[in-house]
């Protein structure tokens, strides 16, 4: 029972990371109808930026800001270089281009930084606290708190601010939005920046728990995507619930079934969902209009 509680805590912590990246997926998908397969690389690049900044001697908080600014810049470059030129084409070329971008990002970092995994210190000096039978790792606590704050922020931003409403309008009907004087290209740019920063934040938060490696991006991205499908594709709440669920399933699977196949559980769950409930937990089936 104690072990189960401990695993539940760890699972929610890692699931929160998937949820953050999944949120980035969903935001870009809603704005552009495109799945960004390089979303995970945003996390990876941010973690490396953080490592570089900390090694350069910056204080942790300054390194954090530098890394997130770097991610905002990457969001701009990504939009202009990968999405924007293809915006009038069908989804297939865009998917392929984002896959190309993901390969480019991962291997550029590999070429520059080499294959050795890096270690990033956690934010806090104290490694964690013992609460009853459960040991609460401080980094996991931080991840969970940040995720909760971001979910609240997201809700406030999209529902209560004018900019958030403009973004929503753009994602629902681009033509109508532009007729109402909303600059669609600006809104899409903001979405990419926000999504890159969100992905970066997830990467920086999870870096002290995992190793900082080239593969971390694709691993996180695949699970985050699985999370969006499990939750219901394109649904914000679904992405978060799906991410948390996946983190828990995976942690329990690794503890009770098999460690080497830990990364396989997400995919098995994903395929099971696709067969039995493709619309996910929250999603509705949508049909193309004739």
């Amino acid at each position: 029972m104690d072990l189960a509680l401990q695993l539940l805590f760890t699972g929610i912590g890692i699931g929160a990371v998937y949820a953050l990246v999944a949120l980035g997926f969903v935001l870009i998908f809603r704005a552009t109808n495109v799945v960004n397969f390089a979303q995970g690389e945003f996390s990876m690049v941010a973690a490396y930026l953080m490592v570089v900044a900390v090694e350069a001697g910056l204080p942790y908080w300054a390194a954090f800001i530098v890394a997130l600014l770097g991610m905002a810049l990457l969001g701009v470059v990504f939009n202009l270089g990968v999405y924007y030129p293809l915006r009038h084409r069908t989804y297939l070329p865009v998917i392929i281009a984002t896959i190309g971008a993901s390969i480019l990002l991962a291997n550029s970092v590999l070429a520059i930084y080499g294959p050795q995994p890096q270690v990033l210190e956690g934010w806090f000096e104290t490694p964690g606290i013992q609460v009853g039978p459960v040991y609460l790792d401080s980094q996991y606590l931080l991840i969970i708190c940040v995720t909760i704050c971001l979910v609240i922020f997201n809700f406030w931003f999209f529902e209560k601010t004018l900019l958030g409403k403009k973004l929503q309008a753009t994602s629902q009907d681009k033509e109508m939005a532009s007729l109402l004087g909303i600059s669609v290209s600006t809104m899409i740019m903001i979405t990419f920046i926000y999504s890159a920063v969100l992905g970066g934040l997830a990467g920086i938060l999870v870096a002290p728990v995992l190793f900082v490696s080239i593969q971390m991006g694709s691993t996180i991205a695949l699970k985050a995507f699985a999370a969006t499908i499990i939750g219901g594709f394109g649904d914000v709440a679904g992405a978060i619930i799906g991410g948390l669920a996946l983190g828990v399933i995976e942690t329990f699977g690794a503890a009770y079934v098999s460690v080497p196949y830990k990364d396989g559980f997400a995919f098995l769950v994903l395929i099971a969902f696709l067969i039995f409930r493709p619309q996910g937990i929250f999603g509705e089936r949508v049909a193309e209009k004739a």
Partner: protein, 592 residues
């Protein structure tokens, strides 16, 4: 549009094409020369290895040209299927001491089954899902290869893989692989012009239109996907025999991306492009070996290549060449004269062709169609009218199976089609056009109409491709576009595209033709011509159910009118009486 002389029976016999074997003879001669060269030329070991790699990889990339090029579906796990085939031969010929041939066939079968299973789980959903599921599958296969040491020997890989008795020397084995490449290349090249290939292209261009033209979209996608996996497995098996050693890193996700890049670079739509792309991407890294000394650098360049190709050269290298060639050929290709189109709508049921009872379609709380009855009499024009938002198009979409009815019964010519998917309704004799034109945009007018003519159960088409072409030509000539049959859809005006859509439906010899606002967007001359066309269709006894806003067209063309408002039927009967009906007048003009 008006070319009445086109419609006259012309005595000149239609041009018969030469038998396939004769037309394709140059290909086989070329292939035989290549095999002979591979069998006799002296290569050093290095060149031999490169050739062997290029040959086997090309076969795997052919798979992508089927699934991505022909059918428009993505597969990011081709290296995994390649690996399944390779490990089947690897483990089969060493651990199990089985015959090479048995292992090769077994590997193909495993890949095929895996591909079919993945396809069945995902292909009903959109392309994003497929991309992600294939990546997931790729990861699972890699995990198993590395971790299931008892089965696969783990990261060390499988050495000492056997070759078949017949091709023990590396020279003869290479010749064998080249021969396989030539055969597979021929099949893939020819596939585009078969019934299945046309169905795949139709699905790629427009899934909805493919469905209502009698194509089982889901099954077609699964065939494409399974075929791609099969070719991956075959290529992997040949690869394993050739290099006698396999290890998990040869079949990683990165390799799947390499396959994808090869396919995109050469031109995803054709096997020649695939072979060019594969050759280039095997040779270029060999020339630029120094890139491999920095880990990641050459894959980073691949990634950049993918973005640039997609942006600037969407059809690949071969796409450029082929495009110019097609345009040139389309101009010189003579369009064979066509006989007059015969429409012989089936008459199995009684006087009523279509009997709709209590049809409802609810979207959540919205009752778009609410308990509508329609009875369409045989051999006439029946119009379905109503103000905007009255549920006309929804009714049509429920009739053709694009929406599932909430309740109600639809009987077409004696057959209950209420629960059939779109392609089966088409097979039962339903033809339709769309309000916003849905043609297969990468194909010629003729090819579009051929897909219509290919409807399962079309009794007006004989056996073979020539009969199909003939039927399609007749239908195009009937609408007055016979002389432009070999032009691409994009070169036709809006009004002509409408006519091609009607021709596509007519070629299938439907029992009932559904026309969804055919006059929308046409100018007044085109409308007159459309009216003439409807008369000529009706004169052949084909029943038409038409939706339109143009009251002149409706009142002149239709003998019977059903009026909908707010999803309910408010009037039904003989045209003039219905148009004077007070409820109808108030629905359109508002009551006093």
């Amino acid at each position: 549009m008006s070319a009445p002389s086109d419609n006259m029976p012309i005595p000149a016999p239609a041009i018969r094409s030469k038998p396939l074997v004769v037309r394709h003879l140059p290909y086989f001669i070329g292939a035989a020369i290549l095999v002979w060269l591979a069998a006799t030329m002296r290569f050093d070991g290095y060149v031999h290895n490169i050739l062997l790699q290029a040959t086997t990889f090309s076969i795997a990339v052919f798979g992508l040209s089927v699934v991505l090029g022909l059918c428009g579906q993505i597969n990011l796990a081709q290296a995994a299927f390649f690996g399944l085939g390779a490990y089947a031969v690897g483990m089969g010929t060493t651990d199990l001491q089985l015959s090479f041939w048995l292992c090769l066939v077994g590997g193909c079968a495993i890949s095929l089954l895996a591909g079919a299973f993945l396809g069945m789980s995902t292909l009903r959903l959109g392309g994003h899902y497929l991309a992600m599921v294939t990546i997931s599958f790729q990861q699972i296969v890699t995990l198993v290869m590395i971790n299931a040491i008892w089965l696969t020997r783990g990261p060390d890989g499988v050495p000492n893989i056997k070759r078949p008795e017949l091709f023990q020397t590396s020279q003869s084995y290479l010749a064998f692989c080249v021969a396989m490449l030539a055969i597979v290349g021929y099949l893939v090249w020819h596939l585009a012009d078969t019934k299945l290939g046309r169905a795949m292209r139709a699905v790629r261009d427009n899934e909805l239109a493919a469905g209502v033209n009698g194509i089982d979209v889901f099954r077609t996608k699964i065939y494409a996907f399974a075929l791609c996996a099969l070719l991956g497995g075959l290529a992997g098996g040949l690869f394993a025999g050739g290099f006698a050693y396999v290890s998990p890193d040869q079949f990683s996700f990165a390799e799947s991306i390499v396959f994808l890049t090869m396919s995109l670079l050469g031109g995803v739509a054709s096997p020649i492009g695939s072979a060019i792309g594969t050759g280039l991407l095997i040779l270029i890294p060999e020339w630029l070996r120094f890139l491999k000394s920095v880990p990641g650098l050459y894959l980073a360049i691949y990634g950049l290549f993918v973005i640039l190709i997609i942006r600037f050269m969407p059809d690949g290298i071969w796409g450029f060449v082929a495009d110019a060639f097609t345009r040139w050929r389309a101009k010189i290709k003579a369009t064979p004269a066509a006989a007059a189109l015969q429409l012989k709508p089936a008459t199995i049921g009684g006087d009523t062709v279509l009997e709709v009872t209590g049809l409802s379609k609810h979207f959540g709380g919205l009752k778009a169609v609410d308990g509508v009855d329609i009875a369409v009499k045989r051999g006439g024009v029946h119009a379905l009218i109503g103000p905007n938002g009255s549920g006309k198009t929804t009714t049509l979409n429920v009739l053709s199976g694009l929406y599932v009815a909430t309740s109600g019964r639809i009987v077409l010519d004696g057959t209950d089609i209420s629960h059939m998917p779109p392609h089966q309704r088409t097979a039962s004799g339903l033809g339709r056009t769309f309000q916003n034109i849905r043609l297969f945009r990468s194909m010629t007018a003729l090819e579009n109409v051929e897909i219509g003519a290919e409807r399962p159960g079309n009794t007006m088409v004989g056996k073979g491709d020539d009969a199909l072409t003939e039927r399609a030509m007749e239908a195009l000539t009937f609408v007055g576009l016979g002389s432009r049959a070999n032009e691409l859809i994009s070169s036709f005006s809006y009004g002509h595209q409408r006519l091609i859509e009607i021709a596509r439906a007519l070629a299938s010899n439907p029992t009932l033709l559904l026309l969804d606002e055919p006059a929308a967007g046409l100018n007044s001359t085109e409308k007159l011509e459309l009216h003439e066309l409807l008369k000529r269709i009706a004169a052949q006894g084909l029943t038409i159910l038409i939706i339109d806003h143009d009251m002149t067209l409706v009142s002149e063309a239709a003998q019977h009118i059903t009026v909908l408002n707010f999803g309910r039927r408010i009037a039904d009967g003989e045209s003039m009486a219905v148009l004077r009906h007070p409820d109808v007048v108030s629905a359109y003009l508002g009551s006093e």
